[in-house]
Symmetry: D2
Subunit: 468 residues, 4 copies
Amino acid sequence: MAEIKSLKSTGVQDECGILGIAAKCEQEIAHDVYFGLFALQHRGQESAGIALSKGDSSVAYYKNMGLVSEVFDQEKLSIFPYAKTAVGHVRYANKGSNNVVNAQPVVFFGRYGRVALSFSGALINAQQLKDEMLKNGHIFQSSVDSEVLASYVNYCANDDAVSGAINAAKKLVGAFAFVYMVGETLIAVRDGYGIKPLIMGERDGDIIFASESCALEALSAKIVRDVLPGEVVVVDKDRNISSYFFTKGCKKPCIFEHVYTARADSKMDGVSVYESRRQAGRKLAELYNVEADIVAGVPDSALAAAKGYSEVSGLPFTDALIKNRYIGRTFIQPSQAMRENSVKIKLSAFAHNIKGKRLVLIDDSIVRGTTSKKIITLLRQAGATEVHMMIASPMVINPCHFGVDMDTKEQLIANGRTEEEIRQIIGADSLHYLPVESLCEACGGKEYCTGCFDGDYSFDISGYYPEN
Amino acid sequence: MAEIKSLKSTGVQDECGILGIAAKCEQEIAHDVYFGLFALQHRGQESAGIALSKGDSSVAYYKNMGLVSEVFDQEKLSIFPYAKTAVGHVRYANKGSNNVVNAQPVVFFGRYGRVALSFSGALINAQQLKDEMLKNGHIFQSSVDSEVLASYVNYCANDDAVSGAINAAKKLVGAFAFVYMVGETLIAVRDGYGIKPLIMGERDGDIIFASESCALEALSAKIVRDVLPGEVVVVDKDRNISSYFFTKGCKKPCIFEHVYTARADSKMDGVSVYESRRQAGRKLAELYNVEADIVAGVPDSALAAAKGYSEVSGLPFTDALIKNRYIGRTFIQPSQAMRENSVKIKLSAFAHNIKGKRLVLIDDSIVRGTTSKKIITLLRQAGATEVHMMIASPMVINPCHFGVDMDTKEQLIANGRTEEEIRQIIGADSLHYLPVESLCEACGGKEYCTGCFDGDYSFDISGYYPEN
Amino acid sequence: MAEIKSLKSTGVQDECGILGIAAKCEQEIAHDVYFGLFALQHRGQESAGIALSKGDSSVAYYKNMGLVSEVFDQEKLSIFPYAKTAVGHVRYANKGSNNVVNAQPVVFFGRYGRVALSFSGALINAQQLKDEMLKNGHIFQSSVDSEVLASYVNYCANDDAVSGAINAAKKLVGAFAFVYMVGETLIAVRDGYGIKPLIMGERDGDIIFASESCALEALSAKIVRDVLPGEVVVVDKDRNISSYFFTKGCKKPCIFEHVYTARADSKMDGVSVYESRRQAGRKLAELYNVEADIVAGVPDSALAAAKGYSEVSGLPFTDALIKNRYIGRTFIQPSQAMRENSVKIKLSAFAHNIKGKRLVLIDDSIVRGTTSKKIITLLRQAGATEVHMMIASPMVINPCHFGVDMDTKEQLIANGRTEEEIRQIIGADSLHYLPVESLCEACGGKEYCTGCFDGDYSFDISGYYPEN
Amino acid sequence: MAEIKSLKSTGVQDECGILGIAAKCEQEIAHDVYFGLFALQHRGQESAGIALSKGDSSVAYYKNMGLVSEVFDQEKLSIFPYAKTAVGHVRYANKGSNNVVNAQPVVFFGRYGRVALSFSGALINAQQLKDEMLKNGHIFQSSVDSEVLASYVNYCANDDAVSGAINAAKKLVGAFAFVYMVGETLIAVRDGYGIKPLIMGERDGDIIFASESCALEALSAKIVRDVLPGEVVVVDKDRNISSYFFTKGCKKPCIFEHVYTARADSKMDGVSVYESRRQAGRKLAELYNVEADIVAGVPDSALAAAKGYSEVSGLPFTDALIKNRYIGRTFIQPSQAMRENSVKIKLSAFAHNIKGKRLVLIDDSIVRGTTSKKIITLLRQAGATEVHMMIASPMVINPCHFGVDMDTKEQLIANGRTEEEIRQIIGADSLHYLPVESLCEACGGKEYCTGCFDGDYSFDISGYYPEN
């Protein structure tokens, strides 16, 4: 299939996984980035890239469409030289932007030499920043926020590269985390509300930044701490670490990371994702009393919640659904005969385990509701006599402005509907959602951005988005 | 990387997933084969292929290296015409034979026109059959058993294509299941001991054969019955079904299908694979009493056994390991820093769940033991204070002659070692295996081929293989 | 674009370039085959392949769709081991058979071990041979004559591999040349009329067979002699050469090789192709007297004839057309604006050279006539005042049954038309063809197969083809 | 082969073919660009690209490594919408820069919206311009002059896009031609000395700019005139044409276009390339009297000169060498046996035509001399008794600073050597060069840049390059 690229000015937002390594001495650093990205693969499957800095003189990089394991093979990795400093990226693409031009890291030559930048998040004021630079005579070769950011960070640099990151961060409006490599200096930046995650680790003196702790774990690194809201951490070429704050940060991280996005074995801002999910399940059981025989979770993200539910309710935790592990990225239209229930491609029911049983089914969230309906049908066909749906998060009633790919407000099933109306649409015997307070408690009681559930975004976005 | 093909005469054995559809009327049959193969993907990830018969006049086919979702896309599937009869194949390749020449279905023109054949298994007497045909002036263009079989089935046909299948099957020694499409006739054959699985399903008058019932499920077909040991089932072009026996069959299917190979939601010869595994876990708990805090399984195949163990022992079933879902087919050598424990690429430990706990860890089997050792190290690093290993099958002490890819006898960790010696090598606090009788009971008490565990193969293979 | 392969029984004929090397000692033989094939590329651009024999124990091969330079790169060639014996092939495909399954060399395992065969030509009785082998229980995995031949040569072998070639050759009806590698023995065979070319060369004791002498030249080998009609030349593993005749040969080679197919610098059966073409041009000038200012040839194949014409007529030889050297294999439909004269994609007129001139234009032959018409239009637009067309061969009025890809009789412009009618269609001011006797004289006066011009094929084909 | 990209700041210069179309109404414009680029393919085989403007709202583009016929197929072209305005590019890459990031057209979003630019030439002051923009906070994502130019043209725009082209052109030092598409406006710019060619054509009201007239010819367009040195031609969206001069131009075009670069059927600044070459050959014959039997040219570029020589000298014009038409872009190391004369891969000698003859061989130029030596050896081996070399241009003694890819001064064979010394190195019986005045006369007597021959560049470059 030909992909004729189209250059439009519409901003395209990225959800992604980012990684940066500042090692003490030259090593096979591309291999480490590879395995770190591999552990972040769940954050983005569209493109992958690695850039490393060889002293001050050059940046070597490679990026392409596909999974980490598709983009890189042993031969490609071997071509990368030994080096001390590198960044990597895996990208999740919103519709219409699947193009290698948009792959990251963004690599460029600027005021302070050769630079590579890996960005995750969404800039609400990207167009304003772009307009400012356009007025100053800049050009843009892609339509992604990451190019705007790369250009802006360079544009704002006066004294040195670090000043660029700090000055730019002050002007950025949105949710973001990025790592920024200038020569052998590595700079890590997290937005003022800590909406996007960014964690720092250490392995034998090597400093590592990653979107999630599971990448540190994969590299046998220990967690040092989360980068703080509003913080700029600089690791210089001698590996001295310094910290700056571009704003007085206020922690309100994205709660959807705990609900769905993050990997269960990660720890975010000190809170275990697995434990958050398990606690959410426990709270569902405490809140809602349903007569049933067994409890099951939709794999993979709702299994921990199902276990929590089982612990409190006493209902046996059961495998009700099996997920096909070989789902590719190509969507194939099923034949007419199969179209009745296309979810079968991805999920099969364990008829043996659920036949004749009243089932409590836990899912992490409902966005459009179409999959929920198909899963319930599948379970009934496999013999479940009742299906009681429990959602380990509240109703999603608002779109996310910070880079989580939810549908427009109109497509959200919970938009303007009651729980009962939703129950009827998806065909469950009963339906319960976890209240937002309970979810927060499950996630450690801290302050979170819960905008998609209750409109309480980390900060006031009314100036940037039309009301919808 | 260039792949210069090498033609050698050494027999190459195939483990695979096979599928055949004999539909009542012309339909998007390639799509159905696609989704059926998709559900069989766990049986082979090396190559995939689809062949369909358009009346008597032609066979259209496509096969290539890769996963089903990589080999086929919407465009490729769309080129296939509507048709009534088709076969498909996914291939698992033993070392050194990863070559598109060996991909299946084998498609050829023979005595009774155009034919396509999908084969799973291993022919012990392939060389003898080949020699017989070489003497008769035949040629062979690949080194796989499937070409020998295709040629032999044609060679043995006297009256019609069906006679070829029956006559050939009488002479085949080994474990095999194959579907064989001649014009619009579909023939399904299973070896005399039923070592390889083959099941028949039905959907609105369409007859479907598959290696496992999960493929029938994916196609919304109902199980009719397993093809019997020694049986040849013929579905003619009017979809009349007839059955022949080339030998008085004696059921001794491969027990390793239940232990590892098959998908948990499949039913084989009437026995649920999930239930076999759960029962094996229960039996472990009944047999061995270990002081511990929690029980966990190695994902994915040992989770059902871990649940069974939990039910009987009362130990809480816990998630101790998470599997990376994006493992590609390219193996990348980790960097020096990561080489200490390469299992981290595939598995992460849930430190939160196991810290300070005494853990019972269930695995389905141990072949070489290297992975077990790494997993135990990983769990201890994550904080487990004790790791008690329980294996839901007996010690593997013999190679498989029927197509399961085990190492040579020398490489099997259980070869010539006691349980205690193995325990020390893998570093467990204790180690227990399930006795072969208990495993058989867990699998429904039927007769099974348990050769890899106790040398009791389905039949006497001493004439075919040197003693080792 | 997906290429779903279709297995049909219709015979597909090959025009091709073949090459075989029997070296004295092990060397980088794959490189030599590469450059030999490169010099034969004009004989077939569809697929290319190399197979070499490493002692008796194995055959290594690689073949794929594309030009020699596309199929092989340095890396692929480097994987081939040093060896003494190799064969190669470039393929021209008739419509509908562009499929890697049909690429050559054909490599197989047969009665006398591992074999590779490169074939050029067309077997009129392929179906009969196939039927005989089908009755004997053989199977066929492609639809090309080369597989039939490979199978038949093996089938006919009784004493040894050489006997197979001799016995088979006796039964083959058609035009053919092939090289056949069994272990380190190399066998070269040419049909009883020598219709297809095959020449033997020598370089420091290495024996080389090729379709044309230009391949010998490229390898710095000297011409030894042409393989004779009906001859089988055997080079054994000690490089002893022996010769056999499967029939009393009678030389009637294809005259179209001189007209169009062969490269100008080749010598075929002792006759220089360039000289044949030049003489054809001279004879045109002797026969037809046209008032004109300049003479030009259609590049590349008619340039030699145009020079000959210039020598005799005294008209200045002029460059009137330039050929685009970067024509790819993809055909692109021109835009509406360009459709008026699509020949412009391939040819440009030198307006500077022809403006206001009366032009004699020489072409090698006219098959359908559509290109001739476009060229004449192009020249007139560029300013030629008169275009007198001279064809350096007779009218093509019959299809070729021996593998030259001409249109069906109905599509031949000369079928049922007079010279005057053709002149009007193509829009020339005058039109002259070279009589068949003159063409033969130009080609050295020897006996040739001139079937496409006068129906006088090398032998009686009436039993094999319906009259059309 | 992996291509890990490396971002360095070294300027990379481009020789290229450029094309722009401003059509009256929407049409299949991508097809026209395709065929126009196809005719310019000889100017660059590394990458190809097409960009079109769809109203003001978007630019669609596609570019990739490879020949025009490799980069685009029918499917890719079909995806491009009908449009009125488009630009295209084929790229010749100097060593080390073969990377898709460097492919053109450069497409970006700037002050005046979406823009695409196709550039040919070399900017001597690229680094200075880049430094100026770096100071202003710009970033650069590649290392090619085209990105610098694109950025600078945008940077210099104050009133409108046209002002950017004019203001920028005033500051550019070097040889350049570019077409620049802003919305539906098309702007064509040629350097102040007209070093790089750029011609304007017309077809039914559509305005076309191209590097050479042969592209106009291919599109059935008529030559309007050459763009003048220092001229900016603007075709607005209503297809009104206006002309601006950013400097008082002074015509000194590159004479090497006539010697080698351009296609023989092109007309440059009113002079026929074919005729220039023919006249150069005639002048050689007038100047140097050599006793010989025949004259031949090295194909393809020296054939016209050989004809001119033949006309004056009376020696018969003969085909002495044939060029292999299937040369790919992959270089394969020949085997040991072939290494003696690797030119055989590309050229074969017509032994038949030259045996026993004293030969005058015309070549267009000698740069390093290694090929000349091999060709002379080849001709002698084929039987030529004497080889008298005549070069249709002067000795190349200086590198080109304007984008023609010549070796460094040290590698030029004529650097510091006499004609006699060169003759001995290449092994000719005699050697003669055409004096620079004669060459200029052959090219119409106009002023040319002849810097590579005599150091007389179009303008004083001493401030930009160190003396070497």
